[in-house]
């Protein structure tokens, strides 16, 4: 396991970040380059693009919103800077913190916009949680799918040509794309990277059979998962829909977005601290994202969201690397008991089963067993013991 010499990202990151060949990860390289980017001319490019798709009669743009700081910022930017009429679309994964739910509901009043909130059946969601966890160690898979599908379905159906995303997640975390690429949203990126190669049809009974996982069947069929079906290429050509990332056109900072929307719109951060990260401005739309979903990232790859947040803050000059390391040491290994309890009761699973299944996803490139405990190398180069190996 290797760590970036500038931030605290490991080479075992969920998405390859270039540390196999370099001491500095691609996200840090991007961050360096962004200091010399000609942002004004990119803004002109964006304005040109916007002017070409602006509509007389229809919504100009779809914005997928969770009610988070970035959602607020994107909506604010679209309306006030780009003079667009957006349609807000939310995939609601049923895991909102109360303050997150509140932020979400206030959006249409604050911004005077139309807002579609899609809420799948809770029973279906519980099943998706269980299958997601058992199949790939990610109970929140349904949310990645919904967030990257429902807004696009709506855009296709309403004939809206533009979807405005914030930053490209894996570029922000791992430097997947360079700032010169001006990458747009693609179906392949969604399936391979966001959804780990699975799609809605992996979760039906038929799909699970084809995958050789009849043991995970929960009685789901296509009828239950229409919200997960990405529009066809033909549909998207008809509506001429393109998904642009604002992060390619304006300098992007989650922290600055949060400051701005707190000030302008009274956006509220998490009321209570999270168990697994020091940041309170992220992921209040889904309690598990900072909780057990992130704990599973630690179990799989040996790092968590505190690493992600610290790395981003180091790049923004808000933390030194030493401070970042402190955060990693404080938070990455924390077992989020509150969050786990909520989830276990939500899906009716025992803690023992949870641990056994979670362990099956530990990466052998990171973890090894020693005297009944899981061990790995930490950022200071020292091997340490963590959880007990789950008994059979």
């Amino acid at each position: 396991m290797k760590y970036c010499s500038k931030c605290v990202m490991p080479s075992s990151a969920a998405v390859d970040n270039g540390l196999l060949y370099s001491d500095v990860c691609n996200a840090c390289l991007n961050s360096e380059k962004s200091k010399s980017v000609d942002w004004p001319s990119r803004r002109i490019l964006l304005n040109d693009r916007i002017n070409r798709i602006r509509s007389d009669k229809n919504y100009d743009v779809v914005i997928g919103v969770s009610g988070g700081k970035d959602s607020y910022f994107q909506t604010h930017f679209a309306i006030n800077e780009l003079n667009l009429k957006p349609l807000l679309v939310t995939y609601h994964g049923n895991n909102y913190l109360p303050e997150g739910q509140d932020n979400l509901e206030r959006m249409r009043h604050i911004f005077d916009v139309d807002h579609i909130v899609f809420r799948p059946s809770e029973r279906v969601l519980i099943k998706m949680n269980r299958i997601g966890f058992r199949l790939q160690g990610d109970m929140n898979w349904h949310a990645h799918c919904g967030i990257f599908t429902v807004p696009i379905q709506i855009a296709a159906r309403f004939g809206i040509s533009l979807i405005l995303w914030g930053e490209h997640g894996f570029t922000d975390l791992s430097g997947m794309f360079s700032l010169e690429d001006f990458n747009e949203f693609t179906y392949r990126d969604r399936v391979e990277n966001a959804l780990r190669g699975y799609d809605w049809d992996s979760f039906t009974d038929n799909g699970l059979e084809l995958l050789g996982r009849e043991d995970l069947k929960e009685g789901l069929s296509e009828k239950d998962l229409k919200w997960g079906q990405y529009p066809s290429d033909l549909e998207l050509r008809k509506s001429n829909t393109h998904g642009l990332y604002l992060g390619n056109y304006i300098p992007w900072s989650g922290n600055q977005n949060a400051e701005l929307v707190k000030k302008l719109y009274g956006w509220r951060e998490a009321r209570d601290p999270f168990q697994r990260t020091y940041r309170k401005i992220s992921n209040i739309d889904d309690m598990h994202e900072n909780g057990i979903h992130d704990y599973l990232k630690f179990i799989k790859f040996g790092y968590g969201r505190a690493t992600d947040h610290a790395s981003k803050d180091i790049r923004e000059g808000l933390l030194t690397r030493e401070e970042g390391i402190e955060m990693v040491n404080l938070y990455d290994a924390v077992r989020p008991t509150k969050d786990l309890d909520r989830w276990l009761s939500y899906v009716n699973m025992t803690e023992h089963e949870f641990d056994a299944i979670a362990d099956s996803f530990r990466s052998p490139k990171v973890w090894w067993k020693e005297n009944g405990f899981w061990s790995k190398y930490c950022i200071d180069g020292i091997a340490r013991r963590f959880e007990r190996v789950a008994g059979k």
């Binding site: 430097g175 690429d181 290429d233």
Partner: protein
């Protein structure tokens, strides 16, 4: 007359699909197969895979939480690709011997092989392969940079300068039996600034063999430009990852520009 060809190029490094700039900044964008399936569904004209590994460090991104094929070495990728690719396929990169090429064609279903550095390190392998499989199965890749206004040929992924002129090198490739030439502009890799039209014109003036251009494609107009200047095929590696349904945008553009293009 035969139609002009649109040719996506998929770059493989460490077992991953990567995007590239300057022949050096290679970043993971996904696995080698899904995009091939996308190209199948778009009924693209041909697909080229380039194995740009230098150090053979398979990053073994295999994970139990991901649905992906397990890749241990380049042969695994070649084998899976041969099972899924439904359009004409070319393999290039790290092909040094006749048996490398023979394996790509006979075992892994490639219709064409692309020899680039082999023209320098093992030219007899190139000519032997041409004799065995015919010139139509042999493409020679010419990677070049513009130095003092002239194209200079490089091999070994842009690291070794060839001390012959571009014209001499092109002629040499033809003598070895190349049935197609792939002109790859190193300076334009990842820049989205358009193809090198001047060098294309030099090449089309020198030979009657089909010429395919690569390096610098950013939008369909670049491709139209290359075709109007004599390219038989237009290849691009990065841009497919930046825009979805790009082949349709290209086709519409070609039709509007009066260039006949194959419609699915």
């Amino acid at each position: 007359m035969s139609l002009k060809r649109i040719i996506p190029v998929l770059l493989i490094k460490d077992g991953n699909l990567v995007r590239s700039s300057d022949f050096s900044d290679h970043r993971f964008v996904g696995d080698p197969f899904k995009q091939c399936e996308r190209f199948n569904s778009w009924q693209i004209d041909e697909i080229t895979y380039l194995d740009i590994d230098r150090e053979r460090k398979i990053s073994d991104g295999f994970r139990t939480d991901k649905r992906a094929r397990r890749i241990r070495e380049i042969g695994d990728i070649q084998r899976f690709v041969s099972q899924i690719c439904q359009v004409p396929l070319a393999w290039g990169g790290n092909l040094r011997t006749e048996s490398d090429a023979g394996r790509a064609i006979e075992v892994f279903g490639a219709d064409k092989v692309i020899f680039t550095s082999a023209v320098d390190s093992s030219p007899s392998a190139v000519s032997a392969t041409a004799k065995r499989f015919g010139s139509q199965a042999i493409c020679c890749g010419i990677d070049f940079r513009i130095i003092d206004g002239k194209p200079q040929v490089f091999v070994e992924a842009g690291r070794k300068l060839i001390r012959h002129s571009f014209e001499e090198w092109l002629t040499f490739c033809l003598e070895l039996g190349a049935g197609e030439i792939l002109l790859h502009a190193i300076d334009r890799d990842g820049k989205k600034c358009g193809y090198d039209i001047e060098v294309l014109q030099v090449a089309t003036g020198l030979t009657k063999v089909p010429i395919v251009v690569l390096g610098g494609a950013g939008n369909p107009n670049h491709m139209v430009d290359a075709v109007k200047n004599g390219a038989s095929g237009v290849a691009a590696s990065n841009v497919w990852h930046f825009v979805d349904n790009f082949s349709e945008m290209i086709r519409e553009n070609f039709v509007q520009s009066g260039i006949e293009i194959r419609q699915p």
